[in-house]
Symmetry: C2
Subunit: 137 residues, 2 copies
């Protein structure tokens, strides 16, 4: 009487696409799903929960590799929550790092734009700067 879901139903419940679910299985992120007689994948609520975790973690920007680690911890009843927290913290630091980089880019772009008159004249400080190997980054 367990209610099995087809991949489409599981997709709808989790917010993933069926394609994504198959992909995660192919990547070994989740175990191969059960199959109906006709070969249809069937999911129980435990697997739906697992897929939900993937979906939410993807939304938060975790890579599939990181999610793999999260799933290992999730499946391990002897885990320490500090290990989960450490994973999250590392990811958060990566995000902060990326934000800093993007802010620097934005600053540089902003300065370039300020130097460009932005009129109908071909003379353009942005192009001039881009073609100048000034501070070789």
């Amino acid at each position: 009487m367990t209610d099995w879901l087809t991949i489409g139903e599981a997709a709808e419940q989790t917010g993933l696409s069926a394609k994504q679910i198959r992909h995660y299985e192919a990547r070994g992120l989740v175990r191969d799903a059960h199959r109906s007689d006709a070969g249809y994948r069937l999911y129980d609520c435990h697997q739906v929960q697992q897929l939900t975790l993937i979906r939410q973690a993807r939304y938060l920007g975790f890579s599939l590799r990181e999610i793999d680690a999260l799933l290992q911890l999730w499946a391990d009843p002897t885990r320490a929550s500090k290990d989960v927290k450490a994973l999250a913290e590392r990811h958060r630091q990566a995000i902060r790092q990326r934000i800093t980089e993007l802010q620097q880019l934005e600053k540089t772009l902003s300065a370039l734009e300020a130097d460009c008159r932005g009129d109908d004249d071909p003379d353009c400080a942005i192009l001039a700067s881009l073609t100048d190997p000034e501070h070789r980054t």
Copy 2:
């Protein structure tokens, strides 16, 4: 007497890799390079300047598609600098948008982490939240 550079020399001057330069040619971003009798690609200073533009623009996070547009403008003596500025501005807005998204992610992660005790106990608020399809994003 024009001093032609081989691809390695052009790479060194621009900060690109030889691989990247070939890639840009294959993508049609730059015209096919001249060739020596032996088939070696040869670059003049105009092309080196063009490659420098690509390198700098890539550094600023422009996509190759955007750079294609920049190169069109660069090559066009009748360009209006406002068109260049508009390209830069659009890119800058995309960066700002991305920063906002990442900041939101960071905030969410931060909140999750705050709820996790991070000790040796398996009970973990982060995992609990991830497996909960609460606010289906």
